[in-house]
Symmetry: C2
């Protein structure tokens, strides 16, 4: 088989794979995870049932794969935001604002759908998802470490605790209705991260 | 029936009711909500199955009642903490530290039990629970409003947004292993809440 042909097949497989994930997540959010069937997913994706089973064994596996793709996409967006910004503090702000924006849109997409919460509760029980979400915390932790070394962030509290504080506080972004409000939230979070006044000796030691 | 006698019956009913909730929550966390039966709950509580059905129709109702009791207890603890403290800022700090402590112990109790997360996911889908948790946010919001009026908290961001920020950031307390760490987290949160320097005109206007 010529190489180009196999690349076409691979890219076709990837497209079908992605379309299955999109369909399954939409159906699960609309009708509830427990009521979605493989037949429904196949029909709405526009493929045969036998083809669907070549890709995935059951609905749960599809929904998990969908959420893992989501988390990977989010992480990639955070890395892009980090690498675009210049300076320790700007990098941290850019990542926090991007993560806040992700939180804001994530829950918004669920809000108008009857079973969005059920879907969210299900995927968050997946240990692989928990691990992926730890990567977000790690990325923020590294930026806090760098900003603390540069004196832009307090160093009297462990960077891991501060990263947990950021991630927790950013969950509040799910209630926000504008990106301006996300920027206000990040400004409040950043105020919490600033070095304490009169702690200059500690900062330079 | 003399009054005292009816009071004894009422207090006995309350004790049985509470014992059922404790047993059910322990069994659900250990074996999983879906595998717990009414018979198991009756046996472990030390009452007959028929008696149990006089109190509750099914396991789900029991687990929901248990969690509603938890949330009511938490709210009562926050009110006590608030009313004991003197001064706007101290009241806010006292409530944030108490809520942080509740978060820390809540998840700790689940951590070592195989189905704690499943249980948590289930009860958090209950709209009544969501409503009760809004009350915590409201209590914090009122304290922020008062502290802002006294100039101890920033007033350039809506008090409701700041309360959401506090509740979100305090979810990070679930990872903390000491009350000292909770106090550090609250200190960071309070730094985020302080009025910005050079915004005195706005504060007094």
């Amino acid at each position: 088989m010529p190489k180009l042909w196999s690349e076409t097949i691979e890219s076709h497989r990837r497209e079908v794979h992605d379309a299955i994930l999109d369909t399954a997540a939409a159906l699960a959010a609309e009708y509830g995870l427990l009521s979605v069937t493989m037949s429904q997913i196949a029909e709405k994706t526009g493929i045969g049932r036998a083809t669907l089973y070549k890709y995935f064994p059951d609905v749960e596996t599809i929904v998990r794969a969908w959420h893992q793709r989501q988390v990977a996409d989010h992480l990639a967006r955070l890395v892009v935001a980090r690498d675009r910004a210049v300076g320790d503090e700007n990098r941290l702000v850019a990542v926090l604002e991007t993560y806040g924006s992700i939180q804001r849109h994530r829950v918004k997409a669920h809000r108008h759908q009857p079973h969005g919460t059920e879907l969210a509760a299900f995927v968050h029980r997946d240990p692989q998802i928990a691990q992926a979400e730890r990567k977000v915390q790690q990325l923020i932790r590294e930026l806090i470490d760098e900003a603390a070394a540069a004196g832009a962030v307090r160093n009297d509290v462990d960077a891991g605790e501060l990263a947990d504080y950021c991630v927790g506080a950013l969950s509040a972004a799910s209630r926000l209705t504008s990106q301006q409000a996300v920027q206000r939230l990040v400004a409040v979070i950043m105020s919490g991260l600033r070095p304490l006044e009169g702690s200059d000796e500690r900062m330079s030691s």
